[in-house]
Symmetry: C2
Subunit: 352 residues, 2 copies
DNA sequence: TTATATTGCACAAAGGTTTGTGCTAAACGC
DNA sequence: GCGTTTAGCACAAACCTTTGTGCAATATAA
């Protein structure tokens, strides 16, 4: 491994001079242009590569940021991750990616690891059930942004989408189409996203004077298996729902599998609406009506917030940013015949 | 920040003693259990967190590995990435993820960055058009595994799937179903995967005595837009194909969009087969026949190979591992009426 | 010519670890 | 009681940088 020492020896100067030249501080320290050239030449010839560990140790900066994500394989998170990676790279940062699998103890461990590695900042999509480790981060003034999921009590940068609104719109749309027995298959309980979606769902029901049936509020995590099992159960109810609102693309995947096995057709036999607008949604057997989240914006804003924080060294105040989702209507929701379509109401929903 | 120095002061011993205790070397260096306890207690109370930069500098080990991937947003790569992350974590390594966007200059930059950061090993899915930067890695004996794409001339660990076989099977399947005008929409030219797939396609045509029509061999990268544009062009041919073989899930996405716009139905109007068996494939408007790649295995083997290499310090010989893909037949291929189905041939293909 | 300013660079400390070696004091052998 | 072993730890170097300060040589001023 070539170090500045090797360069110094080759040129016959001290390592401090080499360092200054390599860091473009020749003028400031009055290094003659002759020496400068020699050093640059030697560095090139020897194939010098700065040791970022040593720099990081000295400078207390690693130019890397830690990304903590629940499930990279989930298309939604994968997309957001890609955006973040790109933005971070362009700002001069590398990404250390950690997958928590929605496991809080894994999340804690990963955050601990990232601290040991001395990352400059954190972008975290927290499980959200425990958060002392995150509080500790803000207490120590570590640049941090909470992504996709807010933690109310914590004074940290945060960018989320308005899950309440998304769920409210989706549920309202189903109601407008004559559905009264609407099931939800929830994601992980007590996460920010899930809570907000449940609230939106309930409020939409209440606003329309529909009764709330707890047996229709099922589900426990954002995974495919959850969607599959709960759908099977829902279909076996004595009085099954006429519509299902799935809280993630992966849940929808399980739901579709259950439908296939039971020969249930969407929307003829049952209506389906989903959070997360997967790329393939339009080409599914029944093109899916979905709540689309602004993935690109989510990632871009997260990185921007973090970089601002990094540059300002905490002098800048925390921001909580809420982005709007959008209901994309396709063909997976059936208009029940007894429904009176009230276009004014629909317009109201779209403007909401 | 708490250092071993702080612990040493608190307890009243030297930092070397602290270090040895914290590294479980008390016996080896005959530290009294009394001192040991005191140090452990102080470390806990002070909330000591080892500085991995300093350790890395001293030990020349960072416990992190660099992952270079063309496109994390692509479901295939996203899935592989997730597996790798998990396996790496369990082996005690963090993952620095770099997205090259199939851009060779970005790939080179990322590899350079990873070297500066001193990652212990590399898992790279190379663009493959240039590879001096990778050769340099093996020359310097850096633990490395090439994933999904091999580079023939390079003596590195490597795990790929048999793309030739996958393409051969898929093409043969189409031929068995009476198709003679089979288009391929290729991915990035001159990548290992693309080359092998083209070979498999051509060999299948030749073996069945079909003519090769260059106008049916289109496409230039693995993205959606490529699929969309090329499909539009293919549909406008004076003598359009009866089947399209798309070389990636994203290409298929574009193809489906084109089909939708042109009101083309699969498989009635045209047959479709794809590389990469996306999770949603069974539930598409026409459930997709696809070449499934063993994603889980791919990721697991890659990490295993790398870890072995890391542990053996280069004493172990390089391995090239080839995994089998699997043709999953669903309903996107139409049996052309004039075709004679030769079951013996089909069996032969499946055994291949 | 002498005093002062400037040029051009070297020295050394610091950042937090790990580890080979050496030193002191107690324990042991006889 | 003296020599030898052993226990228990400290010292200091090394890993590779960055940077404040200092010093010699040259240039400038008077």
């Amino acid at each position: 491994m070539i170090t500045i020492n090797d360069i110094a020896n080759q040129v016959g100067v001290s390592i401090s001079t080499v360092s200054r030249v390599l860091n473009h501080k020749s003028k400031k320290y009055r290094i003659s242009s002759k020496t400068e050239e020699q050093i640059l030449k030697a560095a090139d010839e020897l194939g010098y590569r700065p040791n970022e560990l040593a720099r990081g140790l000295r400078l207390k900066k690693t130019h890397s940021i830690g990304l903590v994500v629940p499930d990279i394989a989930n298309p939604f998170f994968a997309n957001v991750t890609q955006i973040i990676q790109k933005q971070a790279y362009e700002a001069g940062y590398s990404l250390i990616v950690c997958n928590t699998n929605e496991d809080i103890s894994l999340e804690i461990e990963h955050v601990e690891l990232l601290r040991r590695k001395g990352v400059d900042g954190y972008i975290i999509m927290p499980v959200g059930t425990l958060f002392e480790h995150i509080e500790d981060l803000v207490e120590h003034k570590k640049p941090l942004v909470l992504l996709d999921r807010n933690i109310e009590h914590i004074d940290a940068n945060c960018v989320v989408v308005d899950n309440y609104k998304g769920a409210f719109q989706a549920t309202s749309y189903l109601i407008e189409n004559g559905h009264t027995r609407i099931a939800i298959i929830q994601g992980l309980r007590n996460t920010y996203t899930n809570n907000e979606r449940v609230k939106g769902y309930l409020d939409a029901l209440r606003k329309n004077g529909l009764e709330i049936d707890e047996t229709l509020m099922v589900g426990k995590d954002f995974r495919k298996e959850n969607g599959y099992i709960e759908t099977k159960m829902l279909l076996n109810l004595e009085n099954p729902p006429t519509a299902i609102f799935a809280f993630s693309d992966l849940i929808t995947l399980g739901t579709l599998q259950a439908f296939l096995e039971e020969s249930i057709k969407v929307p003829e036999d049952i209506s389906l609406i989903t959070f997360d607008d997967i790329d393939f949604a339009p080409y599914l057997f029944s093109p899916l009506t979905a709540v689309r989240q602004p993935r690109q914006m989510l990632g871009e804003v997260a990185v921007k917030l973090l970089i601002d924080d990094l540059k300002s060294k905490g002098r800048i105040e925390r921001k909580k940013i809420v982005l709007d989702p959008k209901l994309i209507t396709r063909k997976s929701v059936k208009l029940l015949t007894h429904a009176r379509v009230d276009t004014t109401k629909i317009n109201m929903i779209n403007q909401y």
